[in-house]
Amino acid sequence: MPLIHRKKPTEKPSSPPSEEVVVPDEDSQKKPHESSKSHHKKSNGGGKWSCIDSCCWFIGCVCVTWWFLLFLYNAMPASFPQYVTERITGPLPDPPGVKLKKEGLKAKHPVVFIPGIVTGGLELWEGKQCADGLFRKRLWGGTFGEVYKRPLCWVEHMSLDNVTGLDPAGIRVRAVSGLVAADYFAPGYFVWAVLIANLAHIGYEEKNMYMAAYDWRLSFQNTEVRDQTLSRMKSNIELMVSTNGGKKAVIVPHSMGVLYFLHFMKWVEAPAPMGGGGGPDWCAKYIKAVMNIGGPFLGVPKAVAGLFSAEAKDVAVARAIAPGFLDTDIFRLQTLQHVMRMTRTWDSTMSMLPKGGDTIWGGLDWSPEKGHTCCGKKQKSNETCGEVGENGVSKTKPVNYGRIISFGKEVAEAAPSEINNIDFRGAVKGQSIPNHTCRDVWTEYHDMGIAGIKAIAEYKVYTADEAIDLLHYVAPKMMARGSAHFSYGIADDLDDPKYQQPKYWSNPLETKLPNAPEMEIYSLYGVGIPTERAYVYKLNQSPDSCIPFQIFTSAQEEDEDSCLKAGVYNVDGDETVPVLSAGFMCAKAWRGKTRFNPSGIKTYIREYNHSPPANLLEGRGTQSGAHVDIMGNFALIEDIMRVAAGGNGSDIGHDQVHSGIFEWSERIDLKL
């Protein structure tokens, strides 16, 4: 054995040369037993070098090395990673904070951040026995350690009461407050941190930045009922404006925060018992600009898939890669069902359902995005792709985006006349249940029975309006709770007194903007990433599964450029929100003086073309257009900072459009 050969006879057994140990031979590693055996035979009394010693030395060395590397890592100058990156990729552009500081910009208007769904941290204030020791630890956000350690307990605590939509008895989970609430979602995964750091460069600090964290699981009005979050926000904005010398606030909502702030603007001016009692000019007095980042004004189709079968593109792709994995019941975890049960107790998911119905999202045979071509993997070079479309040699068939859910690929492509709809709405829900193991998981599917499931599948095609009806049929309890808080229609007459109810306040098509002619509304969002728009479904044949429907992942086109990928039709957007939803209000419905915008508040559209990070070192990139990563987009940050420092829409260059949003908006026939 090499170990022994190398050993010199003169050597003292107690102090073996370090090289033997530091670089242990493969042999001595692989065959420790042999080595020690032969060792014992040959070195009688001479050395007691045994397997255990080698192990100890080995472990010791690993520990020392580890400790040493850790020490080096900690002693490393903070600028080292950046230096390496710059050596490889060439000098990075100055972050906008540094750049604008050189230009002499100074903090002027106080800034309010409103985080979106999912990105805000939640912490435990009171829990069941299984959550002992988690007091004021983050259940949502941070490391998500608890999900792995006690998944069922976690699901139980994150769920709300499925009747009231408020806390279940004995559990209180509350939003984390302060800027820390949503600066990082998980370690290393920034949300607001980059924006905050850049604002700090030009002089912002805690006193003029405020994170309006709220419990994003609740319906918007319930955040006020339970936590007085809206009152808090009002009082904080008033405080910031008065301590900053009367300069109005710039509001920066992200994702669902956009809808939340729409709700707030209505609430704050509504009279006291139901609203904030701020009076009819509160917004004009306190708000300079609302800079919506990736706002799903008109909802997202993803929410339909999320509620219908608890899956979206991410899950669908995973299923296509490893079929059967997600469907089988590993350890009876029934992952998807649990997730579904949890998300269905959250009222807020229903705020994201597509709004405006067929008028906005398209019908059986038309959609505003008609003619959009998907460019597959070439999405980065959008120009070349656009040209192909204009020449009329588009290789792909036009996609019927209006059919948000269709059963089977053929149906999705068939002409409207060929589709035979059998109305599902009247179908009797059977009592026979395919399997009983789902009982312990609360979904409403087991009330539906085979007849109901069949009726749904036979209806074949659902447009935006019908998708809502479908959800009403599939999950009547949940939708009953949800429709008390949200509405998805279009108002005929905005002065109808019924629109003073809180449930309409977060739907831009059923409320008027406040009377604040000097205010500005921006819509900032990314484009150039395929975004879910419509789904191809199939009946779930697996007998073990409790969810009878799933995305038909094998629906594919052979063509690389197809918009259909793994059962999902994609359209332009920021990966989550389609362009139509993010841009339509600012591009058309609020442009100029319309009935939705009676005081003629100025609106601007700022699109940011997605360009993925050039290499891994750049992390999530500084030019990303993805829904969350856009918060690190330098151009977007620069725009926000200029407005915060006192600029207005024309200072930052009016509209900046890459997609076909204006063209598409024109196609929507909506009374303005």
């Binding site: 900690n74 002693a75 903070a78 204030w125 009171e126 007091f135 004021r136 209180r172 509350r174 939003a175 407050s177 302060g178 800027l179 820390v180 750091a197 700090a200 460069h201 600090e205 805690e206 006193k207 936590d227 007085q228 009152s231 808090r232 009082s235 904080n236 008033e238 405080l239 008065s242 301590t243």
Partner: protein, 581 residues
């Protein structure tokens, strides 16, 4: 939980006091800071100590941010619930409040930058306006129930400042809440370990950046701290930093000789040191033995400790009758500035010692003792710039006539002896503090043997070799009863006497209660910091105190939780203090 009936919002005010020792984080307490331009936390204290010091220091002229550095207090409940991992400050209290239904919406941590003078927190960060708006908001969103304010340590005087500020009209630099604001919004102020009348520790801190812990370490390993180990000059650096913080000056003893005793007499007369040591039985026994067997008869009849001499140079000066002390009038001593630059090698410290000549240092130290009044003169002499800056924000005297218009100035607002409490007869003032731990009360100093050529090193040190025969004098420090940081007299006097009944400091006669908690060290290591501790910070985990705070928050009045609860002789001490009430 019987106290689950009513939810009342509460505010937490906070503070602990600051600094002494570089390795002893206890003394550092409270807060993390956020730095925008370069990241700073406790780890960085170890990795880059100089950078850390630079960022935590304030500008020596203005007492505000130095150019290019902005360090801000962390907001929210996380700001001070744990000071270091596993070292709780507010966390236990918050957790217990949560059990009876409190949560983010009715708890508020009023964090502020504790390095600044109180007035400057409003000037720079609008902390007071923020606090006012938060209290008003919580009052309104919780169904118009008044708030309970829980300040800790320096927070107590910060909140005194706030009480005065909030009712002062806007044009006088106040909050414009108008008279009656406090009566309307505040149910009770529950001061935990309040340093109302300051702490002697602040003097030693400013004079030589050390406290008993350092003096102790020095006597154990002489030379270690004095040598320029790795050229770190730890103490000097710390001193430079703490001299740039105005807030330390707010903790200097207030009320002068009337409260803290003059050269010959003091309020704690007759204080029995054995009493204060009874809990640490082990030590006590050995001390008793020493006294019984090895002590000469004279020391039994020696004069009682002279606590009034907060700083004495040499043990003799601390014990001699006052007639034999050299009568140095420090105000007349002219400060001989020497401008020699031979000390440039010592680095670019800002410490005013290097502008002082050796002669004046010696003169200051010659066989003299300083009382609470003259020690301020000493500090003014030694560090004129710092004191000039800080005394624009704080005052340490006793008012003769509280209606004198000069007391409208904000520098008097945090001194309970120079302000009136607001007119709020229904409000309650509580003083909750630990007793039974020897607490620094006065010091014996010596001239530092300046072995090194560096002139900027600190010329005075606590004489760690001075040990008394009883436990009241150890390592150059005399101890009195208290909670390890704040002596009983400072924490309890205002509630026990200064504000009791209708006095000129408390014109509306709001009720005051003194609640003392006897220190009981944790029974075993497993208990870690114990549930019956009386120590300054650990008391926040004391079950008796938490019980009281919860009951008050749930709506109980002072009588309902049992009125006064006293173990020390704070009442007797207070009687001995004669100030006009």
């Amino acid at each position: 939980m019987d106290c689950k009936r009513k939810k009342k919002e509460r505010i937490k005010e906070r503070r602990r006091w600051i600094v002494t020792v570089y390795f002893d984080l206890n003394e550092f307490s409270g807060y993390h800071f956020e730095v925008y331009t370069c990241s700073i936390n406790c780890c960085n204290l170890i990795y880059r100590p100089l950078c850390w010091l630079e960022h935590l220091s304030l500008d020596s002229e203005t007492g505000l941010d130095p150019p290019g550095i902005r360090v801000r207090a962390v907001p929210g409940l996380v700001a001070a619930d744990h000071f270091a991992p596993c070292y709780f400050a507010w966390a236990v209290l918050i957790e217990n409040l949560a059990k009876i239904g409190y949560e983010g919406k009715n708890l508020h941590m009023a964090s502020y930058d504790w390095r600044l003078s109180f007035h400057n927190t409003e000037v720079r960060d609008q902390s007071l306006s923020r606090l006012k708006s938060k209290i008003e908001l919580m009052y309104a969103t919780n169904g118009y129930k008044k708030v309970v304010v829980v300040p800790h340590s320096m927070g107590a005087i910060y909140f005194l400042h706030f009480l005065k500020w909030v009712e002062t009209p806007l044009h006088d630099g106040g909050g414009g809440g108008g008279p009656g604001w406090c009566a309307k919004h505040i149910k009770a102020v529950v001061n935990i370990g309040p340093a109302f009348l300051g702490v002697p520790k602040a003097v030693s801190n400013l004079l030589s950046a050390e406290g008993k812990d350092i003096a102790y370490a020095r006597s154990l390993a002489p030379g270690l701290l004095d040598s320029e180990l790795l050229k770190l000059q730890t103490l000097e650096h710390l001193m430079r930093m703490s001299h740039s913080w105005d807030s330390i000056v707010s903790l200097l003893p207030k009320g002068g000789e009337a409260i803290w005793g003059d050269l010959d007499s003091h309020a704690e007369e007759g204080h029995n040191c054995i009493y204060s040591k009874r809990k640490s039985s082990q030590l006590l026994l050995s001390n008793l033995h020493r006294q019984n067997y090895s002590v000469k008869p004279e020391s039994w009849v020696k004069e009682p400790a002279k606590y009034g001499r907060i700083i004495a140079f040499g043990k003799r000066a601390s014990e001699l009758p006052s007639s034999q002390l050299s009568t140095l009038n420090i105000k007349e001593l002219s400060r001989v500035d020497c401008t020699s630059n031979d000390s440039t090698s010592c680095g670019e410290f800002w410490s005013e010692y290097n502008e002082m000549s050796r002669e004046s240092i010696v003169k200051v130290a010659e066989n003299t003792a300083y009382t609470a009044t003259t020690v301020l003169d000493l500090l003014r002499f030694i560090a004129p710039k710092m004191m000039r800056r800080a005394e624009a924000h704080f005052s340490h005297g006793i008012a003769d006539d509280l209606d004198d218009p000069k007391y409208g100035h904000y520098k008097y607002w945090s001194n309970p002896l120079e302000t009136k409490l607001p007119y709020a007869p229904e409000m309650e003032m509580y003083c909750l503090y630990g007793v039974g731990i020897p607490t620094e009360r006065s010091y014996i100093y010596k001239l530092a043997t300046s072995s090194n050529k560096c002139k900027s090193s600190i010329p005075f040190t606590i004489d760690g070799s001075v040990n008394g025969d009883d436990v009241c004098l150890k390592g150059g420090t005399r101890f009195a009863d208290g909670d390890e940081s704040v002596p009983v007299i400072s924490a309890g006097y205002m509630c026990a006497k200064g504000w009791r009944g209708k006095t000129r400091f408390n014109p509306s006669g709001m009720e005051t209660f003194v609640r003392e908690y006897k220190h009981k060290p944790p029974g075993s290591l497993l208990e870690s910091r114990g549930t019956e501790s009386g120590a300054h910070v650990d008391i926040m985990g004391n079950v008796g105190l938490i019980d009281d705070v919860l009951r008050i928050a749930a709506g109980a009045s002072g009588q309902e939780i049992g009125g006064d609860r006293i173990y020390s002789d704070v009442m007797r001490m207070s009687e001995r203090i004669s100030i006009k009430l």
